[in-house]
Amino acid sequence: MSEIWTILLGLGDKLAAHVVLAASAIGLGILVALPLAVWASRSQAVARVALGFASLVQTIPALALLALFFPILLSLRAVFGEDLPTLGFLPALLALALYALLPILRNAVTAQANLDPGVLEAADGVGMTGWQKLTLVEAPLAAPFIMAGIRTASVWTIGAATLSTTIGQPSLGDPIFAGLQTQNWALVLAGCIASAGLALIVDALLGLVERGFASRKRWLWGTGLAAVALGVVGALAYQSGGDDEDTIVIASKQFSEQYILAQLIGSQLEAAGYSVEYRDGLGSAVVHSAVASSSIDISVDYTGTIWTNELDRTDNPGREAMYETIVEWERETTGVRVLGRLGFENAYAFAMRADRAAQLGVTSLEDLVPVGPQLTVGGDPEFFERPEWVSVRDAYGMRFGETRNFSPTFMYNALRSGEADVISAYTSDGRIAADRLVVLHDPREALPSYDAMLMMSPRIAGDEDIANALRPLIGAISVEDMREANFAVDREGEGKLSPADAAAQLAGKIGL
């Protein structure tokens, strides 16, 4: 319990970011929905199209909607120029505002449709203009219902805003995603408690406003609105106070190794006197764009990933050439500085149980070729479709007796139980060490390398002080050390560490 409490107290900046994001999204939603509702009340066709569109948006999962704004904004750069942000606040704001549209719009349209026709006729009868009718009669009478819609939208938006973590916008989703990946349930719970608590408070305050509108008690809705405004202003003030140009933002993707390395880099920088901020749990696809646009400052990426995803290459020129090419390409095209390689790879590799490998006399992929047809190979669901497998198959003429797909966790279980003789493992996976697996050599270099590289955004690329603070990490982390740290975070039960503790242990081990 006290652990959750400690985490909650440290969530101030995430909470402030969450409040500002959700409030902006709801505000934008209201700004769009209300005029649209007025228009819809005057035209059946507009009502159908607007409500249809809002309902359609609602059927898109929030996570997908957030992700969709990345390519949309990227293509809009053709119109608005290269400075248009594609990650972080803007796409999160747009996606969440779209999401908030439906409840506000639907309630406003329904409220107007259900106004007493006698009252509307009277408004015309006493000589009101269209605008007077709207402001003196329709708006005040529809206000409680519209407020109910805004309440619903607020609760949804506050919940959905946790997902904006995946597109690089800090929110209360940060601890949730980090906790899910590292199986740190205290972190997950703290994030959920904070976001649910926020939703409940906002719901209660807006409920006050709704009741105030319905009973026409000015002090009631005044109090509610003032409290909400105070919260938003407070969050803005907190954010602008905490927003320091000198803060270095360190990103991590959604797996343990990334969280550990981010902590390791962070503590290294803090020791050198910098203030750091973590942007945890980013989608793998967005990390590179984020560092290239300086939305984040430091990331750890892998040569093979950049090679295929950013350079669009499918060939394999060999480990060194690949690295050199990427360093050169980043410098020329994106302005990102590749400070160096950390020393280990997180690549695809073939692994076997030590006893089985010894029994068959297999130490490399070449040894595997003659016995392959008698063996069963297991891979993660995408492995046999990936260029890595094609490359191994073609380079060695590799054939297996049977091919099976497993989810990563079951893949290791299958190897342990003998359901698979050889699997496609990840080289820095902690389970390789824990299960004492043998990683087979690849003498023909058919498997592309996945060297972990330290990337610096264009904003800090020229900063030699930062580079010097990080240089001790270059070439310092062996694959064995990384496996051990990963296993400490991934494992269950006794000996399980938080990414920060695992990073501290790793730092000690490599002599920092």
Partner: protein
């Protein structure tokens, strides 16, 4: 008030088919007809809630569609079955809305006067409409229609939703106010008895056309043709049957 070949169509449906009629100042005219005869539509052409699709409607010699709408609606008090008090305004605010829209503030004294005129307590000005009975609400509706000192009062089934006793009392009251304030009044009703008892002149409409235009006395004497007489026959028949019952009891 003059209708010149006033006509209103909704697509192929003819609601009002070319009505010619002049209503002199100071008269109390009832517009009678069964449902769908076009009487309400004709009435709403007066304050342009419905605009004519053919012909003209003249008010004081001017085409109503060329008058400024807000001004026209101030000069024409409007009372209708739905009453349509604004539920978020007090009774006083409801009464004062017409002048307020014209940029005038109605004094509380004037509001009290108007409430007294429709036989309500002046203290009611501070109440909300949902605290009143149906009859009280329609009295407020009449006060609201009179607040702008209109020259013309138009009423669309004004007492339709009221119980018979309230209905009778309010009918009498409106006729009294008509005389007292020197108004011109047009009242739409489907109740011929009400029309005969309150109006100086009864217009009968059927299928969008004016089929009879007589005084109550003439109608009771059998004039106005088949449709009008059909409508007159209902209350007369009821009255005769009631008289017969009384005779038997005596």
């Amino acid at each position: 008030m003059t209708f010149e070949a006033a006509e209103r169509r909704y697509g192929d449906v003819v609601a009002v088919a070319g009505v010619d009629c002049a209503i002199e100042a100071g008269s109390f005219v009832a517009l009678v007809g069964s449902s769908g005869s076009g009487k309400s539509t004709l009435l709403k052409m007066v304050n342009t809630l419905v605009s004519p699709s053919g012909g003209r409607v003249l008010f004081g010699g001017e085409d109503v569609t060329t008058l400024r709408q807000a001004q026209l609606r101030r000069r024409v008090g409007y009372v209708f079955q739905g009453i349509g008090l604004f539920p978020h305004f007090t009774v006083g605010e409801n009464i004062a809305i017409g002048p307020r829209l014209a940029g005038e503030k109605l004094s509380s004294q004037r509001i009290a006067e108007l409430l007294t005129l429709v036989e309500l307590e002046p203290e009611m000005a501070g109440r909300m409409p949902d605290e009143l009975s149906g009859g009280q609400r329609q009295r407020v509706g009449v006060a609201r229609a009179l607040a702008g000192d209109p020259e013309l009062l138009i009423m669309d089934e004004p007492f339709g939703a009221l119980d018979p006793i309230t209905r009778d009392a309010l009918g009498e009251k409106v006729r009294e106010l008509h005389n007292q304030l020197g108004l011109t009044t047009i009242m739409v009703t489907h109740d011929m008895a009400e029309a005969l008892l309150l109006a100086d002149r009864v217009l009968v409409m059927s299928f969008g056309e004016l089929v009879a235009d007589h005084t109550p006395r003439e109608l009771l004497a059998g004039e106005g043709g088949e449709i009008a007489q059909g409508l007159v026959a209902v209350p007369r028949d009821q009255a005769e049957r009631l008289a017969a019952m009384e005779g038997r009891l005596a």
